[in-house]
Amino acid sequence: MLAHGGLNIQAAVDGDHSMNLPNYFIADLSSEAVLRPEMISEAGQALKRNRERYLLPRSTEAILQCIAEVARSWLTPHSPWRAKALDHGPAATGFSREMLAAGLDAFFRQVTLRNLTALVVQDLGHPQRLDRLVANDAETVQNTLGFARGPDLLVNVAAGVLPTPVFTSIIHGLIVRSAQFVKCASGASLLPRLFAHSIRDIEPKLAACLELGAWKGGTRDLDSALFGEADCVVASGSDEAIASLREAVPPRVRFLSHGHRVSAGYVAREVLGEHDAARVIAAAAEDVAAWDQLGCLSPQTIFVETGGTLPPDEFAKQLGEELARVEGRLPRGKLDDEAAAAVFRRREFYRIRAAASDSTRCWYSPESTAWSVVYEADPRFQVSCQHRFVHVKAVDTLDECLRQSEPFRGKWSTVGIAASGWRAEELSQSLAAWGITRICPLGRMQHPPLTWRHDGRPVIGDLVTWTNFERLE
């Protein structure tokens, strides 16, 4: 077994034996109480040593192949990692087994050598950019060469319960050949750990350059020890959490952040005819249901244009019926009392509003909080309480929609649109000009491609540092 982190973790505590995961990563420890700042600093140093030995000498192609193989292993019917994720995931994450299976499969299906290579080329302009000084066509004309390298130690501060953004971060770190420390939110480390163990299964030397820890946000001594070893910190979370992390990161360390975002759907009137409406409603339900609407890419409001064959309130009603069908196939996860109470309070609020006014209507799953649809004639964007609680708003034009959404400008991530070909182009132009960073077909909102630019920023491009070589004339 490869030395990892220079720590005798096995002796420190008993790990979680119920899943038969070896204590390899710090997050495998069953208790956070044993974590000390020195452990974190030592782990950081060991990771950097391992990087020199195991990661730097490897070619990009070899690394990408290895990542693609890990993804393939998750898709095989007998994958032990997938089985563990589905068996233990519902209790650890709150997602149903079916939701986890669907979400993980959709993610790993697109992690292929081809897509990984496309990401490198998109961000760095050349597939071997991370291996040596190279020139693409434009550079050849300029007679220059370029080489890019990742940070020595990349720290990812993960937030929330969705596993796939953490997987993506780990993949990005591997591609740029950085040693990585992934700091998960307390209690949210199970799936990232399974992913890390699956990498170790395929290639232990890559896993030796990766560490995972989980502790409560704002644990200053552990955070400081970690950031003290880092060259670059990538953080996700609420605006407050990010502001507080930014303060804890030393000035010499690059700090990249992804704050909280909201997303919306937009349905054009021409796809509300007899032939298209059912398909569009199914796509909308798919987006609301995906990861129980907990991601920044999930629609919280769906704008529906007036003037189509199907009026917006009827769209909302049918969306409820579709969500009921989806619930049979992809049940929503169980809620704790606080989250269920939040849904209940919202439902009551709109039930009363619907009783007081004709411009509000609502449809709720009976006997559970599984799904809720609220229609309002008021065209303003509304933040939802998530867990498959969606607002449908009637709008006359996209202009009106954007005007009403002005307070959210810069806070929107994705708009999923359903429109005919030429209108889709036109709407996308307007959305892009307004500052929306991702526009995709409705039904694909929670499945961004590997090349997706998070918050409109380069993905691995933001992590690397360049060397340019200007050749003699």
Partner: protein, 348 residues
Amino acid sequence: MALELFRIQFDSCPAYRRLCEMSGVSAESVRTWEAIPSVPTVAFQELELSSIPAGDRIAVFHSSGTSGQRPSRHFHSRESLALYGASLRGGFERGVLGLGGATVGEDGLQPCDGEGRALLLSLTPPTGSVPRSSLVHMIESMMGRRGGVGSCFAGRLREDGSWEVGFEEVRRVFADATDCGRPVVVLGTAFNLVHLLEHFEDAPLSRPLPAGSRVMETGGYKGRSRELTRDELHAGISLRLGVPSWRIIGEYGMSELSSQAYDAPVAGRGRERRFGFPPWARVLAISPETGRPVRDGETGLLRVLDLANVWSVLAIQTGDLGRVNGDTFELLGRASSVEPRGCSLMAA
């Protein structure tokens, strides 16, 4: 009696009747008190849930929401105010003053004198400046009936509408009381008390309040002060005022109700405290998933059936999580607001 009242309200309050009918409930279909349709507190914002004709309404109590939010409105007539008065007195005299057999604490010390009056000090503004506050109405009503010499309001309304505590006034009342060894009953919201504790942190009292003094705290913080947990608040009150935790009484009330619950420590159960309503109000915990009552001891959203809510709606669904055991309940936290959350993004 609850069913009889329900049928009267179904017939006389059109907005309530409409809500019942929307849920497919008729006056005849309800056969047990648990099945009486409730209205959420938020309904008092959107609808006029009152059977009092507009001309007979002499008072209205508003919920203390955050600014910019439409408040709940609970209308009162002369008759309904009289009943409200009788209801609040019953709960307060027993729950806060320990009259009528209820005892607060083991030493039997009572704050009331031989005539059943006590020195009441309210940290809220007086009712003249906040006529829409049901809490202040309650305190004012109790001052008239049970307030001894020197009882007063030490709070003021600032120009921006916020409440402030007049610290000098409080110090004066405390000093007089301590000189005479007369117990004080301090009444206020949690944020009033935090303001007071912060003041005494900078300039501590030289002597603790006389033995037998009590503190009644109520309501959430609503962003008007630092937020403390109940244990932190009690520890601060004990430290700064010298009132032990078992003489601190929590009040659970809202403008939509006409009865209040008061809490008391559970004997032999450490810091555990339980609330109880007077006998004319009952509480149920409702599953947020199914909307039906949960089993005793399970967590749910509190629903109060208050027979003193005669001219509005007797069954009120709160947004607060709690656990009900028999006639008492444990409060697990008050909902910060019944309006949809998520507005923090709007402000950003």
